[in-house]
Symmetry: C2
Subunit: 377 residues, 2 copies
Amino acid sequence: MKFIIQKENLVQSVQDVMKAITSRTTIPILTGIKIVASEEGVTLTGSDSDISIESFIPKEENEQEIVEIQQTGSIVLQAKFFSEIVKKLPTNQVEIVVDNFQTTIRSGKSEFNLNGLDSEEYPHLPQIAEQNSIKVPTDLLKNIIKQTVFAVSTSETRPVLTGVNWKIENNDLICIATDSHRLALRKAKIEIETEQSFNIVIPGKSLNELNRILDDHDEPVEVLVTENQILFKTKHILFFSRLLEGNYPDTNRLIPTESKTDIIVNSKEFLQSIDRASLLAREGRNNVVKFSTMGENVIEISSFTPEIGKVIEELVSESVSGEELKISFSAKFMMDALKVLEGSEVKISFTGAMRPFVIHPTNDDSTLQLILPVRTY
Amino acid sequence: MKFIIQKENLVQSVQDVMKAITSRTTIPILTGIKIVASEEGVTLTGSDSDISIESFIPKEENEQEIVEIQQTGSIVLQAKFFSEIVKKLPTNQVEIVVDNFQTTIRSGKSEFNLNGLDSEEYPHLPQIAEQNSIKVPTDLLKNIIKQTVFAVSTSETRPVLTGVNWKIENNDLICIATDSHRLALRKAKIEIETEQSFNIVIPGKSLNELNRILDDHDEPVEVLVTENQILFKTKHILFFSRLLEGNYPDTNRLIPTESKTDIIVNSKEFLQSIDRASLLAREGRNNVVKFSTMGENVIEISSFTPEIGKVIEELVSESVSGEELKISFSAKFMMDALKVLEGSEVKISFTGAMRPFVIHPTNDDSTLQLILPVRTY
């Protein structure tokens, strides 16, 4: 293998595939980056066996030469060293030559020799047929991920809850995450090429990594699903993730369809109030704050931690309708929800102090956050 | 105690005194910030008993009212909560009222109640007479610290080496740090008001915190020394540190007065070469790189770690004079030294492969870095 490549493109590609690589793998070769030089360009691959990322660097782009392939071939190089080395090379042109697993990286007056590994021993990536695909604009995909993935469970007690449930119903993509104390739901109309339906669970970790790799300006992402794998395809990147096994619980019956108290508040002011109230609550019992309607559209948010002190916040809401209410909930869950909702106002619909309540932006029912209260009053 | 204060000034002051506060103290009251309201303004104090920082907020500055004192008094509040609270308060005006240790912090519609502690139980700061003072411009003081403190020892085997030795000789302030493998020395002409001399050791940790608190635009810092304390005084901040006990070793005889090989290199290029060479060396034996003169002003920097690979860098130096040389040294020590030296070129003076060598900027003998080589050739 022998090629000359533009440093900038190599660095970007290495950075992308590094997102799949962990040093805590039990398969030693997966601590490496697989590099394949073909007639068309250079392909890098990183994987932790749950997530695999393939990044392709074409020979030319926009009529600029990026790679000059002098001899095709492949090698696996230790990711930790290779990624640091390419970043720090002195010149824009980098030559990589492999001779019997000995890899030479040359740039200016700097020459590295790395012991490579046989690329034949690198696991094969899943093969996914092109047939079942949906297309999602990149900014929408990033938004969907952001508005749901934070609510997945971090506990392995019910592994299926560590993922986000994606399903297609009537041309809607519906994405749901819950850790059984709160739930995030996001619906989106999407372009479906053929009659298609799926109901899958994508690991939260995979979606977080995908979100970090996607660039807002990218073209739409093609999404392909098989029984146990999902593939996100952009122009030069293939992002594979395994799917979680098991049936995702039916969450429909959790979401209340009517409400007894409805409150509309400025989202940012409410978030800041909760944030302050939680400053003392964090030390005490589970970061719980109290929320009470006080008449005349005033809301009181408070918390009390005997050893430290107490805080009382008053907030004037846009409107309060329905029954009076005293309720306690996790400040963290409320802040997580408010941070991802768009729009300057949110509507919170309660059905009593012991029932789950729903937060969504006013004038937008594509997204919904649900929180279970905490029993304190 | 009762006063109304501008949030911005309070936040800045709290941030300054927080630099002395640690949660790992054995004296519980030192996890608090002492707040004293006097007729002149508000004084905050933080301390970990090694370092104490006092920050004064005057009633007025530049004809702007900052604090309105309604009742003098004092209290100690948990630093962790107080600092978070003041940062997040909703309005620019903050009212603080103490009634029998119960402290109320009011800002807009937000009201905090914190359990305070008796300020009488807060340790007294050392009293330092004004007589023995030197004045150091802030930017010079920051430079002196930066160019020496990184070289202090991190091991407690010889506690005196965890500090920087400051002494006055013939109107020069001489600052030296060494961990016995490398040494950093910085001299500076300073303004001395009276006939004065001292020879003290300041804990490296104190100097690092001082550096973080000093603002480049500050007026000169007044430095006062007693037997076991040093005080750095700026307009509104008093920074106290205890001194280290014990005699600092005489390092004069360590510094070679002649050389056998002298090399002048571009500081940045050399730093980058060493950085690359150390990428592989870090994993191996102690981050050691090899340095060889190759004739015709060429220097070769290399490292070899059998399990990973090797790297060879060539660097064209400005000049090489004297004997040929092969020497090995810690890449980390060399990079630390190069990072703090000013000027685009450095001169490195060697006296053989087994002797300490000296690095200093060309045309500047106020600062010097010394490194002991490692035996490998």
